[in-house]
Amino acid sequence: MAFISRGFKGRRSSAADSSRLPPGQYLTTGFPVLSAGPTPHTPLEKWSFSITGEVDQDRTWTWAEFQALPAEDITADIHCVTKWSKLGTRWTGVPVSALLEGVESAADYVTAFSDGGYTTNLPLEDLVGGKAWVAFQYDGQPLDREHGGPARLLVPHLYLWKSAKWVRGLRLTLDDRPGFWESNGYNMYGDPWREQRYWGD
């Protein structure tokens, strides 16, 4: 039994919505910034988003082309593996399904890749059907660089490390290939409701 620090509560909200919290998570005030490296600063004129890998044909969008795609408003609960959760967060983004429309592929998996070298892997079916977006606005404002702007992947039903910040594209793959954290102990899938944080969970 760990030593209890008398009177310590930590920076957490009351558990009023605790039914919406996956196991082991705590509600946070604020929006913690997590980073594995220096913040990339790709100017919008140089930014592009690509679908590549096991596809009939690569597809690329410039920022202007990307902004012209149909976007939707999203309200979602997000859960970080470091145990904080935020409920009812509001985003605007392009559904990944729209980006994959017309793409022919035998791939079952995807590696999302970002500026700075970060990667994360997901099953393709977790990115379609209204489950994932490439988000470029948070709370009605352009996405802050520290939160992954100009655009990040948003996959709320999985732990937030799968929602790659500074995302630049999706590489479709036949096999499930571990990304940055998945190569270092984090779960290949990452379902917060089954508390799949690490290998073997």
Partner: protein, 236 residues
Amino acid sequence: MRELIPETPHVSTLVFEVPEWPGHLAGQHVDVRLTAEDGYQAQRSYSIASPPEDGAVALTVERLEEGEVSPYLVGEVRQGDQLELRGPIGGYFVWQAGSEPQRPVLLIGGGSGVVPLMAMIRHRHAAGAGTPMRLLYSSRSLEDVIYRAELDRLAGGGLAIVHTLTRSRPPGWTGYARRLDREMLAEVAWPVTLGAAIFICGPTSFVETASAGLVELGYPAASIRTERFGATGGTS
């Protein structure tokens, strides 16, 4: 905790008696781990402010209103309370009066970055060392200067203290009144040829400005040791 000493409006020192404390070196820190009743844990690192010659472990903590740990440490912890500490930790950002006693030392601190540097200053004094030492200390205002009276008292006998106040100054202030820059470093630092040991501690942006400035002035990078605090005021 044995004693709580308010230092400035936002900063206090907590003095702990740690049973079987193995002793420490000036510049080292401890990791503090807090556990709530439901098992939630938070951990932060705090530099030890007391010199090795003291038996107790003093931690000087800046209370950050948005912080998770500091408002608990400076606000809730009472005399007699116990905390979980791991340490002493660190071998890189450390100064010992006994090794290279003639080599001058330059200490550069930003805000609560002065804490490990104060341990070095107190250690120099307690060990009776005559090592030439200079502290360049950046604070927002005079009332934010931690250990002000003690620094005034210890100055002299080879120890020089230079303050810069970045946000507000008292009337009649004749000292530096701006953020650290290369010019200030050139005026305060020991001449390059003396081969001084340099320790810089504070927020990352402060440390990088000071370090880059010194390198541009010709100080060898190998003589410069840095310790960056996060925005949380400690290393979290």
